[in-house]
Amino acid sequence: MATTLAPGNLLVVFLGVVIGTVIGVLPGLGPTASIALLLPATVGMDMISSLIFLAGIYYGAMYGGSTTSILVNIPGEAASVITCIDGYQMARQGRAGAALGIAAFGSFIGGTLGVVAVMLISPFLAEAALKFGAPEMFALLFFAFTCIGTLVGKSVARGLLMAALGLLLGVVGTDDIHGVDRFTFGTLYLRDGIGLVPLAMGLFGLGEIFYNIEQREKTGSVLAVPKNLLPTRKDWKESFGSILRGSGLGFGIGVLPGGMPAVASLMSYAVEKRVSKRPERFGTGAIEGVAGPETANNAATAGGFVPLLTLGIPTNSVLALLLAALMLHGVTPGPLLLLKWPHVFWGVIASMYVGNIMLLILNLPLIGIFVQLLRIPYAILSPLIIMFVLLGAYALNNSIADVFMTLFFGVLGYLLRRFAFEPAPLVLAFVLGPMMEVNLSKALIMFGTGNPLYFFTRPISGVLLTLALALLSFPLVRGLAKKLSPKA
């Protein structure tokens, strides 16, 4: 806590959450692209400062995203898409204050409860993970891979294909085990492999901008920010259960690989509608439709730190970049993090508490100022974002090749968006792929028999692989059952 409360780090948390809120408010630049953009700038910072700065951007963006959903009916980032439904309706009915207020308090409660859970669960999980050998690690990564492929996006086949593409991109470069160049096409640049930052900036930054240029949508008018943002006693009564459910559900989803905050908010909305005594109110301005999802996406944000910090497994693309940030500073996240670098672990946890408090204190009085940002025309903002993305790509290694790579992935990101393919599994598999390969090779050499069924002779790897196979076969079984069932 003392590390986080040092004046320098408090300033870093403050900057992180403010930048995050601005990113969340502005449509067109999500947290992934922004963190990728700012990652090179954190190289000069010390390890803890850079991590709490980037983490601050992440949860700040989750807070900020709701503002535009409620006041303009445009989600600032993916996790706030669902908030548009009831949040905007509430604003149109003159209840914008209650919607914004409950979104902020829900986010605070969800975020804080999530951090408490991270603090309580992580040490136990890290201790258990210390017993993991190569077969268990491979099984865990394979399970993560299938979760990412099957849970993210609308179609399992498309999700898995994106994940496979991510694995392929991850093998480009000199093979760590055998020292052989793979898919480098004889270029020196590709020997080091494809960089995560150009890939993320291209897919999420340029790709999004290209899509917006081609498919320009008319933006709605910004509704006025009310003076009173405090929810009434009735609002609290209606939202209390939603906030508690959203916290639990969001955290649980956040811990799962592929459990992005956007998935958490979507599922929370579905749960709230199902448990409501008057589900017909949903879509017409039900406060539970704002409270639940907004709480859930912040709880999921916190939940994602459990597998990242204890197992070294990022569950979404933002956390993949945080993993890269840790590795830039020579820290390998995983079970040993708590033993070798306890100050990093607890520093991040403490910064999340402080960041959540800062966001609540800052966001409610400053919503009016943040909303003014929406008055900057997107036509001006878009070229400036392009400039920063290209600048960020160049600044990474002072190399034009990185800019070309960013552009390449920008076009790919645009095509994926255009044809409804989700890029997140690609990024996650790209990060997990090399770890998967190393652990698979080690495990097979360790077994010495060449029989992959040996994975099932070890309890942990057996259970994880069985779960993964069940997850993979679920869509096939469902499709078969549909075919066999008599038509109604």
């Binding site: 055998h178 400036l384 600048l391 552009l407 097979l444």
Partner: protein, 151 residues
């Protein structure tokens, strides 16, 4: 069947086959002692399998994009200008090439007025040069434009 799924399915299947050939050439080793081509070969099998899955599964309704909402020419200009930017950045320098990129983006992609485009581009490129090159010490290419001493 969804046309996109069909196209992507064919691409995944072909890509998988090509990748399998490449993986084989890299030496897959054995399952007792995997070689550098082992993992690429596994990815190739996964990709081909998924390609077949996409080709065989019943397609869902394809979401059509109305031609009125599409701004293909703006997208093409944006893409071409960024490609041009990456090619001339080292020769022309950061200031001139960024200014030119922003003018093109603002004037022809975003259809802003000439004066808005010019001034926004000039201010943004100059401010970003000062912030990144002078304050953050990022060695942005200077090009032929004379910069003050110490920059």
């Amino acid at each position: 069947m969804n046309r996109v799924d069909r196209g992507v399915g064919v691409a995944a299947l072909l890509g998988g086959v090509l990748l399998a050939i490449a993986g084989w050439r890299l030496d897959p080793g054995t399952s007792k002692l995997p070689g550098p081509g082992f993992f690429p070969l596994l990815i190739a099998c996964t990709m081909s399998g998924l390609g077949v899955w996409l080709l065989l599964r019943p397609g869902s309704e394809e979401k059509s994009v109305s031609p009125e909402s599409s701004r293909w020419s703006a997208f093409a200009i944006a893409l071409a200008s960024i490609l041009g930017y990456t090619m001339v950045l080292n020769e022309l320098g950061y200031l001139v090439s960024t200014f030119a990129l922003l003018v093109v983006q603002l004037r022809w992609v975003e259809t802003q007025r000439w004066s808005t485009s010019f001034w926004t581009a000039a201010i943004a490129s100059a401010v970003s040069l000062v912030v990144f090159r002078v304050l953050l010490k990022v060695p942005l290419p200077a090009g032929f434009f004379p910069l003050p001493k110490g920059w």
